[in-house]
């Protein structure tokens, strides 16, 4: 369980977010530029909140009043950035196994379900948009994270594949019993996978 109450000041916008992420999928929707990615990056440890705190179980990740900031390396999150940032110079295999936390069985499961088998030894930088997105997703899963942070994980996939990967994701999250914050632009997707549904508007997080 992760609870947070943070603010992040951006030149264009003040982002204020407070909430509790329980085991299972929480979807995050909201209009473009409303602050979704900023919230995800704050949880991953890539953005320093201006004020506030983030606590996982009893571990304090962030507390600006005490000047505590846990490095991203210590948080063991599974982060999938918006824009499918792969390690362009590495093969798909080395991309996915970069975290070294997964094992042989998880790897072959990921490779199979994401249809990446035939690209195993290809440099990730030359892949198509959807292929790169699957690599980024596989890489986050292989890290066996304590929480999954997915920033539009399926936006570049066609509907068949999207359907299938979505089911696989729901299964894995259920099996691992971890919380997952899932940003999506697709109302149906949010309805179908979200056990909890959050919404973001003009920097303000609404957790219903």
């Amino acid at each position: 369980m992760i609870s947070f109450a943070i603010t992040v000041q951006r030149p264009t916008l003040l982002i204020q977010a407070e909430g509790v992420l329980d085991t299972g999928i929480t979807t995050l929707t909201g209009s473009s530029g409303s602050g979704k990615s900023t919230i995800i990056k704050s949880l991953a440890g890539l953005v320093r909140p201006t004020t506030g705190c983030i606590i996982r179980n009893d571990e304090v990740w962030v507390d600006t009043t005490k000047n505590i900031f846990l490095a991203p390396q210590q948080r063991f999150v599974g982060y999938m950035p918006q824009g499918n940032i792969v390690f362009p110079h590495m093969s798909v295999y080395h991309n996915i196994t970069y975290s070294k936390r997964g094992d042989e069985a998880l790897l072959s499961h990921i490779m199979n379900r994401l249809g990446l088998g035939k690209y195993k030894d290809i440099k990730a930088g030359t892949l198509s948009g959807g292929e790169q997105q699957r690599v980024a997703l596989g890489r986050a899963l292989y890290a066996k994270p304590v929480i999954l942070l997915l920033d539009e994980p399926l936006s570049a996939l066609d509907w068949n594949l999207r359907e299938q990967v979505r089911r696989d994701l729901v299964d894995i999250i259920g099996e691992w019993q971890i919380p997952c914050l899932w940003v999506t632009h697709d109302k149906n997707e949010a309805d179908e996978v979200g056990q909890q549904r959050w919404h973001c508007e003009a920097g303000q997080l609404y957790t219903e």
Partner: protein
Amino acid sequence: MSPLWLSLEVALLALVHIIVVGLLLNYILKRYDVKGKALIDSVLTLPLVLPPVVVGFALLVIFSPGGAFGAWLQSIGIQVVFSKMGAVLASSIIGFPLFYQTVRAALSSIDPAVEDVARTLGASELRIFFTISIPLAWKGIVTGAILAFSRALGEFGATILIAGNIPGLTRTMPLAIYSLVEVGDYSGAFTIVVYICALTLGLLWSVHLITKGGLFGQRR
């Protein structure tokens, strides 16, 4: 040893030192919020601006057995003045700023979002530096190494002061050119200049081949 082989050995040894220290320093300055980065940076760039003789003179003051440090080095059996080690030291210090600065520019041009993803995957900063930052900055690193190696190969002013101009021991190609010109043997000097040109050409050509033109042209 002939000036050609000696030059190559000295420049290669210098390059090894430059790369190790250059990468290490770049790592530390990128990783840690060191106070006075600009100062460190300036000091490391000084050997480029100072005339090589000045650098040579400074090295002489530091390493000469007449001084405390030099005397101590001598007592443990290390002789820098008038030795190959002196030549390597001079070339390393003179060539260093070129590698250091070029690599720093290349490293700071990398999209930090890529390194950020690696952080979330639990990779140590050191691992990120070697597996992400350096491979993504390789063009700058190869260029920096070529610049530093070339400069080391041509180093004259500092070398002749600290290492002397001892045939077979510290007489590198630039020193040999100087010595031959001094005794009026222009054709001998010209021969060595041709060697240096051929070497540079060969070096850049092989880098061109190894990188399959990637350093020179754009791939599509």
